[in-house]
Amino acid sequence: MIMLPKSQLIQAVSRAVSRGTPASSVLPDVTPPLKVVVEPPPKKLTNYSLALSTPNSAITSSCSIAGVSQVRWAHTDLKVPDFSNYRRDQTKSSSANAVESDGIRKMTSYLLVGAGAVAATYTAKAVVRGIVGNLSPAADVVALAKVEVKLSDIPEGRSMKMKWRGKPLFIRHRTDEEIEAEAQVDISTLRHPETDLDRAKNPKFLILIGVCTHLGCVPIADAGDFGGYYCPCHGSHYDGSGRIRKGPAPFNLEVPPYEFLDENVVVVG
């Protein structure tokens, strides 16, 4: 072929084309170069040289409409290393029946992983319980949450005041007349209707939290117009069952949770 700069060739041809003469008449006379013999590169065992020597006749090809269409070479000269360290024993031999060992192979893997997952779930549960349980109240706080009161210390007709969970606790040993009087009150007239029996499990003892439901002052016992408590801050009158009768308080005095362990001992809280 002619060795000329591309631009010169294009220019010459375009001139010839515009004049309408065949291109061969304007092309300069060039002697073809001498034939240079290039030594072939030394034969190496590279992928390249190997690829050149791969057979292009000993092939299998399959062609189908819905199946696989492929051309396969017979790579019998490629060496594949031995991977038997990573293979299962049941399928190492080429004559082994894979279908027979399918159950064992699958089950070992899935069961081991499943057992590991169960152990990991157990660990996760323990960790979460530990972290969330850390938020629960400390043992000394829980120990102070309940208070035990010996009711025999309180004579009849008298009340006792003590501190419980930071709040005043009133315990009154009521006389029979007081109990009678409270039982006969018509609850429909009350601002916060509750029967006396709802509030005092054992009517002999009235256990209340001494915090006025209006704005939180501590009512005075045995005071007021209704034979119960009177709050000096804004003039709320409570009766002998701690129910609001007169004054600005909206609810009856709160009854804490309590239990009688026996005749004489009550656990509040």
Partner: protein, 306 residues
Amino acid sequence: MAALVGRSTKQALLRAKPALSNQQATFVTLKSKTSKRVAWFLGSLAVGGGTVVAGALAQPTFASDLVLHPPKFPWSHNGPLQTLDHASIRRGYEVYKQVCAACHSMQYVCYRNLVNVIMTEDEAKAEAEEAMVEDGPNDVGEMFERPGKLSDHFPSPYKNEEQARAANNGAYPPDLSYIVQARHGGEDYIFSLLTGYSDPPAGVKLMDGQHFNAYFPGGAIGMAQALYNEIIEYSDGTPATQSQLAKDVCVFLKWAGEPEHDSRKLYGMRALIILSFLLGVAYYMKRLKWTTVKTRKLAFKPPSYK
């Protein structure tokens, strides 16, 4: 230039030198036999461990180390799965209450801590009620005394450190709640100290009110020997020899400083079982998932250059 023409005319010989000409076709694999891996692991362990031992042995001896170290006694709670002996804790509590509580406080231990460890709730309540505890202020603002409840701490014999020092020749009897953890040597040290009183050797001068104990750093301790044979009677009938008393009070103090001891060892055993099983499963899973990577074969099929 030649490359340009070569490309435009598709003459293979004029193509630029192929980059693949130096490539050797080899498969790189790790002949990973189990024995080789194990050998490597053990070898690296040995080298690491040897370094640590050599470093430890190369430390110089300091003069402050010259104190009589207590021997290691065969406590029944030594060992990763051994619990404290609760009968011994109970006896130790009796020793503390009758002998040590006269001078030593245990202000971080409460009566409720004893429940279901060495006594029932009712017994602990009775113990608490024996002590008078200061409470208050009452309605008129005064402090008052009342019998103890379960939620109260053990009462202190002195109101404050100054009073304690004044009553004990200037030496403060330390609070015993965490003493086993606060002293080098733990319960071995406490036991040796309690049973280690002797006459001072020739030449050692003690001041008034001091006593000689070879295990106490410095040798001159303010506490007189407190434990003698049969100074108290145990409620379960165990003979109250000096070493028995010392052993029981040490176990009690060990419990007081580490009340979580028993459950800690139980949880530790559970954790070790589960985690070692999980380690094995994790190793299996890693090897299973990596089979696709470890058996990967890449065959490069270059385009033909004809």
